[in-house]
């Protein structure tokens, strides 16, 4: 039952692997020697059964202990009752007669002036305690807090955190999500250009495109994290991009060009692409394993605060770099001969062929460039999130949404659509629970198809 397919595990020095059993054995020592060997004395096992705590006001900037507060603990059956008064450090403790059910009550009138319980209903707390345990009772001080809910922003953020500078919490969350969404959108967009161009030039909806994204990320990970070589991520990313581009070219030469030559229908080509998608995905799983993996470079970076939003430096780089790459792609499509040829083939293949463009060559280049970009997108996505075997397939669904939204077969439409999808996914968490955030993006796809089937930038033609 080896886990040798997870190559990374080989690197671990055996001594860092502290087994659960050893941990458990330590627990045994705890049990036997009554806490002598315990690392953290604060929670050491004790022989007395106690209730206690520290009264303090943490709602302000300072952590302020409250002195002279009265707290009473009674047993549920009424046979025991004792009152404690907090000391200068705010702490109090009551020794209880043994395990059982108790009620702890704070006397709010003894609180210092201006201090109120954050939750006045919680002035009395019932609890059950086993023999020999200590129970901390919390009576938080501060302004009342609204009941929390997923996606609800609480409204009365008490400030002090890095993000709340000068901006109301609602706004900064909106802007933060917008920026996160743009980042996601730029990455999806970079990945999706190839999907859209391949569709434009050959009519094929390539379901295996997502695997190019995965392979790009995994290739870079191979050189930066998986193997011991520790090549810089920049170089590893470049290698990954070249490799996926090469792979795309090989793929076209060995598979798609042959199928086109054979005159295979688009539907059977689509099915072939699905076959490759499944096959490649599970080959990656077979070698990489099912866990999330990370590059060794730029593993963790502190976020830089920009006021309304914050980003780690690598994300700033990702956004800037992908914007640069996308502008370059735009310039290449607009200005260079091959770019024009690509657009011409996507526009009208027969016409392009009759005006002397080598359509097969253009398609080959589209495959190479599109796969390379997808690989690069995978490298960036792996950098901002993690590298896993299913990452490309999951992005593929968003790419579909984005490219359809923007207009199938148009490079700029794909980009615009993906940006919209990325932003929409993040912003939708303001309303719906985050675990369902992709639903919004995919529903948009359906709505767009109803209202504007050609997509945002697509030409109005009868489709179908």
């Amino acid at each position: 039952m080896g886990r040798d397919h997870v190559g990374k595990n080989y690197e671990q020095a055996p001594e860092t692997v502290v087994s659960r059993a050893v941990r458990i054995a330590l627990a045994l020592l705890v049990a036997v020697f009554g806490g002598l060997a315990v690392a953290a004395p604060a929670v050491s096992a004790q022989s007395e059964t106690t209730a206690g705590g520290t009264m303090r006001d943490r709602s302000g900037a300072e952590d302020e202990p409250l002195e002279g507060v009265k707290i009473t603990v009674e047993s549920a059956d009424g046979t025991f009752s004792e009152t404690a008064v907090t000391g200068a450090d705010g702490s109090w403790q009551i020794v209880l007669p043994g395990g059982g059910d108790y009620v702890g009550t704070i006397d709010p009138s003894t609180l210092p002036a201006g201090k109120t319980l954050r939750n006045p209903d919680n002035a009395s707390l019932s609890f059950r305690l086993n023999e020999g345990r200590n129970r901390n009772l919390l009576f938080p001080i501060g302004d009342p807090v609204d009941a929390p809910a997923a996606g609800d922003d609480g409204g009365t953020d008490d400030g002090g955190d890095a993000l709340a500078v000068d901006v109301a919490p609602g706004d900064n969350k909106f802007i933060q999500l917008l920026v996160d969404g743009l980042k996601l959108g730029l990455i999806i967009g970079m990945c999706a250009i190839g999907l859209s161009l391949v569709f434009g030039t050959t009519g094929l909806v390539n379901f295996a495109h997502g695997e190019m994204v995965t392979i790009g990320a995994v290739t870079a990970y191979l050189f930066n994290g998986w193997l011991d070589w520790r090549i810089s991520l920049f170089l590893a990313g470049a290698i990954a991009m070249v490799f996926t581009g090469f792979l795309g070219g090989v793929f076209d030469k060995l598979v798609w060009a042959r199928l086109r030559k054979k005159g295979a229908s688009l539907i059977s080509m689509l099915v072939v692409s699905i076959g490759f998608s499944i096959f490649l995905r599970y080959v990656v799983l077979y070698r990489l394993g099912g866990r999330a993996n990370f590059y060794s470079d730029y593993r963790i970076q502190r976020r830089i605060d920009f006021g309304p939003f914050s980003l780690p430096p690598k994300d700033i780089f990702i956004m800037g770099f992908s914007l640069f790459v996308l502008v370059m792609v735009g310039v290449l499509l607009q200005r260079t001969r091959i770019g024009k040829a690509m657009r011409a083939v996507a526009d009208n293949r027969d016409l392009a062929e009759s005006s002397g463009i080598d359509v097969q060559k253009v398609i080959r280049i589209v495959w190479v460039a599109g796969s390379g970009l997808a690989g690069l997108g995978g490298v960036l996505f792996g950098l901002t999130e993690s590298i896993g075997w299913e990452m490309g397939f999951r992005l593929l669904l968003l790419m579909f949404a984005g490219t359809t939204l923007g207009g199938l077969g148009t490079a700029y439409g794909a980009l615009l659509g993906c940006l919209v999808v990325g932003v929409f996914i993040q912003l939708s968490t303001l309303i719906i629970p985050p675990d369902t955030k992709n639903i919004g993006a995919l529903l948009t796809l359906a709505v767009i198809l109803l209202v504007r089937p050609q997509g945002l930038l697509g030409k109005k033609e009868r489709i179908g």
Partner: protein, 415 residues
């Protein structure tokens, strides 16, 4: 309709006739004198990382049982199988193993997968014994008395987690919870006691473990600015923790808590600099009452030298040993005879901690009242066939990313 089609149709009808005609050939789980265990443990799917220790535990149990002379004079048989993470794979495995006349299934790791096969197994009169299901749903499930588990219900761990958060004096807490029954079940079990003791949950979110990113969730946590953050999840915790550290709410900035799903060495090892998780604390069910665990770990390593984690290996081991003891007590390998014996074997009576020792007691007197205290805990099964007592370890990552046990909490389930 062409000729081939007609022939096929005829063949199909013929087949159904045969099916109707062939009577019962044999009864699964009935005594054939040989105790067979079937495994439905994750070899594939998103819980695949839980598989290796469970398989190792099972193989070790088989070794130990057979080394002590087996059951009913014969060696017990272990037939491993994959549970995957969706019902398809598990069902196929169960079909296959039912065909091999297994007497007890060991698995599955995921409560969800167990629910897809529990009816099939228990209605066939075979024992379904999970080492890792913690969902409270099984306590009340109509299982013909054939479902058992050695993992304690999440209620115990949840209370321990709440206790831990309270001990550390955290007045507000944010929960980041994996969307499955493990995550949401543990969330409920922890939230109740925590709020009852005066704590406030300022933010709770259930996330999709396969999500493209967790920016939105972490953004909410930052905005909520709690004293403590609890992450209940599996492997994806490494992604979330990365985001939290980058957003300034990592273990160095806040009190961060985990649970048995993620408090493993794998979490620290997914960071090149494991010190970033230093200070993160969490709960893990299980304790050594018999004092044989160091030995147990060494034996597991011998079974599978590549083991990285040991989660649920002890529970798997105990499940198999219990069933084997049950067969000795029932003097049969018929699952329906073994099942009624199992609960009593875990409580009251003469204590024994190894299969060999317990077997000796039982063989000396078939009706001997024994109390098997296993490597995973005192067991003490309640009427629902699950532990009523559990020890929860409190773990903490140190500066080198190693897990240290800092405390243990005894939990009791009222039943």
């Amino acid at each position: 309709m062409n000729k081939t089609s007609k022939k096929l149709l005829a063949a199909g009808l013929g087949l159904s006739m045969i099916a109707a005609a062939c009577g019962g050939d044999s009864v699964a789980g009935s005594g054939d004198g040989e105790l067979k265990f079937g495994g439905i443990l994750p070899e594939t799917g998103n819980l695949a990382f839980l598989g290796p220790p469970e398989f190792a535990g099972a193989e070790l149990a088989v070794q130990d049982i057979n080394a002590a002379g087996g059951v009913l004079g014969k060696d017990v048989v272990w037939l491993p199988g994959d549970s995957g993470d969706n019902g398809d794979v598990a069902n196929q495995t169960v079909d296959r193993l039912l065909g091999e006349d297994v007497d007890a299934f060991i698995g599955a790791a995921s409560s969800g997968v167990s629910l897809t096969v529990i009816d099939k197994i228990t209605q066939a009169g075979v024992i379904h014994f999970s080492p890792a299901n913690t969902s409270p749903a099984f306590t009340t499930y109509d299982d013909n008395g054939l479902y058992f588990r050695t993992a304690p219900s999440d209620v115990v761990q949840g209370a321990a987690l709440a206790d831990l958060i309270l001990q550390d004096g955290n007045e507000t807490v944010a929960f980041l919870v994996l969307n499955d029954s493990y995550g949401t079940g543990l969330l409920e079990a922890a939230k109740g006691p925590y709020e009852a003791a005066g704590g406030t949950v300022t933010y709770e979110v259930v996330y999709d473990p396969k999500a493209e990113n967790f920016d939105a969730e972490i953004g909410e946590v930052v905005a909520a600015d709690p004293d403590a953050i609890v992450v209940i999840g599996f492997d994806e915790t490494s992604k979330i923790l990365t985001g939290m550290i980058e957003a300034g709410v990592g273990p160095a900035d806040k009190a961060v808590y985990g649970t048995d799903g993620n408090m493993g060495n794998a979490l620290a090892s997914s960071f090149d600099d494991p010190s970033v998780v230093a200070g993160m604390r969490g709960t893990l069910p299980g304790v050594d009452v018999a004092g044989t665990l160091a030995d147990f770990k060494a034996k597991l390593d011998a079974v599978d030298p590549a083991l990285e984690d040991y989660s649920y290996s002890a529970e798997t081991y105990d499940a198999m040993v219990l069933v084997a003891l049950g067969a000795i007590a029932a003097n049969s390998d018929d699952a329906t005879l073994i099942a009624p014996k199992l609960n009593d074997l875990t409580k009251g009576g003469e204590k024994c901690t190894t299969f060999a020792a317990c077997k000796d007691l039982l063989e000396a007197d078939n009706d001997a009242d024994i109390d098997y205290d296993g490597v995973s805990g005192p067991l003490e099964f309640g009427p629902a066939g699950e532990p009523t007592q559990a020890s929860i370890l409190i773990l903490e990552f140190d500066g080198s990313g190693s897990l240290k046990v800092v405390d243990s909490i005894q939990g009791q389930i009222d039943s």
